[in-house]
């Protein structure tokens, strides 16, 4: 019945060490993650003909390929911020399915914490020197945190979402991080700890914000046929999609409470032939607590406006409505600037049954959703344990 065609799978995945790597360069973090992902797959650099990564400079993928000693005939460095790696893996899937590449290595590396300290997110660049339209929203001393705070405030205004509901996201993530020996913060926290903490940009408190870390990760995309000869069970890339609503100017976002996930989610589920009800475990970009609330709504796990109720009372816990961020997420485990690769690696671990204390029993379908910029981009991957 099904026409014979090349199907994309993830045949290897790994994180680097994290969250503090003062002894490594950014490129060395890429290399460490790549080494481990290749070892996981049972492949070598000689098997790699495609390479993808995203960083903050043009020709970034070319530079990292040079460092790794790769001479790929497929490369991609689409940068959509935190969602980049979901986009890169979606692209890699198309590449292997079309025959443009056989084995695509996708890596991420960052030494944000070691190099910049904890300044990310709380600087206002000023905008005077920025080219193009970004100046319109950047003159006012807004920060990255402030942009998400504006969305959170509007969501509270429209739907009655409370600071305690947002805090529940952070509390659940910390609970998962307690089982992750690598996590940056592991001590349990309470809703009260979050809401009585220091406000960074109202209504977001310090513990509503992700951590700042060093770290990286890598995964390898190839065909199911190739993966059949490899050592690890393949994780099937069932569907992917991405979208954008605006870039730096939050004033250009049509609705502060509707993120690009509202487009990428339904598209990805449609391409996978699945619905949100089919998902067993979710890895959702948690730059801020509000990011997760908006994402569960926009991906269709609950109706718009019901995200606060969805995430409270352990809704995202291991026995909750949607077990989410089983590694502790960016809120507690690791957030090196663009966390998207960590979502994919953790989804793969869950689908291979390697989740350890936070394994979701019999996880068959996982969603990894990255969010980039100022809620500017969203990219959804639907991954599966079994051949579709």
């Amino acid at each position: 019945m099904t026409p014979s065609r090349r199907r994309a799978v993830i045949c290897g995945a790994a994180t680097s060490d994290y969250p503090y790597l003062p002894e490594l360069s950014e490129h060395a973090v890429h290399a460490q993650a790549a080494d481990r992902a290749l070892a996981d797959a049972g492949l070598t650099y000689a098997d790699v003909d495609g390479f993808a990564t995203a960083g903050f400079f043009p020709m970034y993928s070319v530079g990292v390929a040079e460092y790794l000693g790769l001479h790929p005939t497929y490369f991609d460095e689409t940068n959509s911020g935190g969602s980049s790696f979901e986009v890169l893996v979606e692209h890699a899937a198309y590449a292997v399915e079309s025959g443009a590449a056989e084995v695509v290595l996708v890596t991420y590396g960052s030494v944000q914490l070691s190099q910049m300290g904890r300044r990310l997110g709380t600087g206002g660049g000023g905008g005077a020197g920025m080219p193009g339209p970004a100046i319109y929203d950047s003159l006012w001393g807004n920060t990255l945190v402030g942009n998400y705070a504006l969305a959170a405030r509007r969501h509270m205004h429209e739907y009655g979402t409370t600071p305690e509901q947002l805090a529940a996201v952070a509390v659940t993530m910390r609970g998962h991080a307690g089982h992750n020996p690598q996590a940056q913060y592991r001590d349990p926290i309470t809703v009260e700890d979050v809401v009585t903490g220091r406000l960074v940009a109202d209504p977001l408190h310090k513990l509503d914000c992700c951590v700042i870390s060093d770290g990286g990760g890598a995964c390898i995309v190839t065909t199911a046929e190739r993966a059949a000869d490899l050592q690890r069970p393949p994780v099937w890339i069932l569907g992917g999609a991405h979208a954008t609503t605006h870039h730096m100017n939050l004033s250009a976002m049509a609705d502060l409470t509707v993120t690009p996930a509202a487009q990428s989610g339904p598209l990805a589920f449609s391409r996978a032939g699945l619905t949100p009800a089919d998902v067993d475990v979710a890895q959702l970009y948690d730059s801020f607590t509000i990011t997760v609330v908006l994402t569960v709504e926009d991906l269709g796990f609950c109706a718009k406006g019901e995200g606060g109720a969805f995430v409270q009372d352990g809704g995202l816990g291991l026995s909750g409505r949607l077990p989410t961020n089983t590694d502790g997420g960016g809120l507690s485990a690791c957030h090196p600037g663009m966390r998207g690769m960590f979502l994919i690696v953790e989804a793969v671990r869950q689908l291979r049954g390697e989740g350890g204390p936070t394994q979701v029993p019999d996880a068959r379908i996982a969603v990894a959703h990255g969010t980039g910029g100022m809620l500017s981009t969203g990219a959804t991957l639907i991954l599966g344990r079994e051949e579709p």
Binding site: D137, W140, N142, G146, A201, N249, L250
Partner: protein, 155 residues
């Protein structure tokens, strides 16, 4: 910016370091060609929006075409009245000059004419700002020919 009572957790401005430069002025944009009139009008105390010659759609930020129908656009003077769509109180920003303003309000304001703009709401205790609050433009020169529109509570 209006001073308010510090609350626990507020990041206060750093104490002046002897010999440190004085506080920096608010940054000035370098206008794009299609927006020069927008910034110079604000320097004269007028808030402009773009209006489509064909379909009447109003918009900011300034663009070379109508976002709704891609028709040509002309400038229209706005009333300067609007309402707060959302706001935040920035309590941590290490960058100058902003760190000297903490705490301060960053807001999205819906103009009476339709467009939404990012701005600061000033002349009010940050803790008293609310979504839906009526505000009006108040202009500030940031260079010899560029001005910006801040907002304050409408009386």
């Amino acid at each position: 910016m209006t001073a308010t009572t510090p609350r626990p957790g507020d990041m206060r401005p750093l104490e002046p370091v002897p010999g440190e430069r004085p506080p920096r002025p608010r940054p000035a944009p370098v206008p794009e060609p299609e927006a020069a009139e927008y910034w110079s009008a604000a320097h004269e105390g007028r808030l402009l929006v773009q209006r489509c010659d064909d379909c009447g759609h109003t918009q900011l930020y300034p663009r070379s075409f109508c976002l709704s129908c891609h028709g040509p656009v002309s400038w229209m003077e706005a009333s300067g009245r609007g309402t707060v769509h959302s706001y935040t109180v920035i309590r941590q920003n290490h960058s100058r000059p902003f760190r000297d303003w903490i705490p301060y309000v960053v807001a999205l304001v819906d103009l009476e004419e339709g467009p939404r703009v990012m701005t600061n709401v000033v002349g009010v205790d940050p803790d008293d700002v609310r979504v839906g609050m009526a505000v009006r433009a108040r202009f500030e020169a940031v260079s010899d020919d560029v001005g910006i529109a801040l907002f304050e509570p409408a009386v």
